[in-house]
Symmetry: C2
Subunit: 174 residues, 2 copies
């Protein structure tokens, strides 16, 4: 696929952003490319467009499929796999947040709970340490409880709530 200068810069930008957030640069670039592409692309075209090895695309696509940010499609008379990205930014963010929660936050919560419970009978660790960890755990629990409570609200409701943010604050504030 031919990249115009803007598309090129866009893909480079998101590759860069990805690597700052712990996402493999190629994976981020593939996603950016598919996000822009007007139609599904097959792996060879992705590799050629981005100038990376075909095998690298294979691995990257696999990861994006696992994240459910990309889907496979097919065309009649062509047995290659074609790929399309989720194009709705709200959905993209939802999937990423949900994935990172599951892979990173949930295990962390579990870990912190173990720590706190172990520390109840651990006399060698200062009490202060236990309080710190418990505080952090409580904070994370508050956050995830909130997330769970809003994550499946319809987008419209979410948008309204976001727009009302400060007004709600004023009403509650008293």
């Amino acid at each position: 696929m031919r990249l115009t200068p803007v598309m090129h810069r866009y893909i480079v930008h998101w590759g860069e952003m990805g690597s700052r957030w712990g996402i493999n640069r190629s994976v981020a670039q593939i996603h950016a490319l598919l996000y822009l592409a007007p139609n599904p692309l097959h792996a060879d075209e992705i590799a050629e467009t981005l100038g990376i090895a075909r095998s690298n695309v294979s691995v990257g696509i696999k990861e994006l499929l696992a994240w459910e940010l990309v889907q496979v499609t097919h065309t009649l008379g062509d047995r290659r796999d074609f790929f399309v990205a989720q194009r709705d930014p709200w959905e993209v963010i939802r999937v990423i947040v949900e994935g990172r929660k599951r892979r990173e936050i949930d295990p962390t919560l579990a870990f912190l709970r173990t720590c706190v419970s172990e520390l109840e009978t651990d006399s060698e660790t200062p009490a202060e340490v236990r309080e710190r960890i418990a505080g952090q755990l409580e904070f994370l629990e508050t956050l995830t409880r909130w997330y769970d409570s809003i994550k499946s609200l319809p987008r419209k409701t979410l948008l309204k709530m976001m727009r009302l943010g400060q007004k709600i604050a004023k009403v509650i504030g008293e």
Copy 2:
């Protein structure tokens, strides 16, 4: 500083978490150590406790100071720098989010605006691409507007809003 097994595991865990989110492992470990430590530590003690080079601590601390997640303190009769971490998890997250917004989101917003404006007179890029980028920009703008509107609310108000999340949704929902 002597680390008990739980403290040790805690620090390793956050080092690991950090590196998954694009934060240098040593930096994350230093922060975790200071978050737990009952009193301020000096650089040598940090290096020794974590088993990393003194110079590495120097660089890491500098970064944490730049993030304002760590502060310097002093003791009478000791000219070394001692360091303490921000211990309030809410404040920790606030500082991190604010920092990442400033360093990454704001430049991205600026970049996307340039793209969209350039694409107005760019005939070689498909119109679809412009719409995709514009859609993403709008989404990010909605998100940051919301963030700006709530970021300086008092914690109590924020907590109330979070607890009420779904109830508000029901009222608004109609």
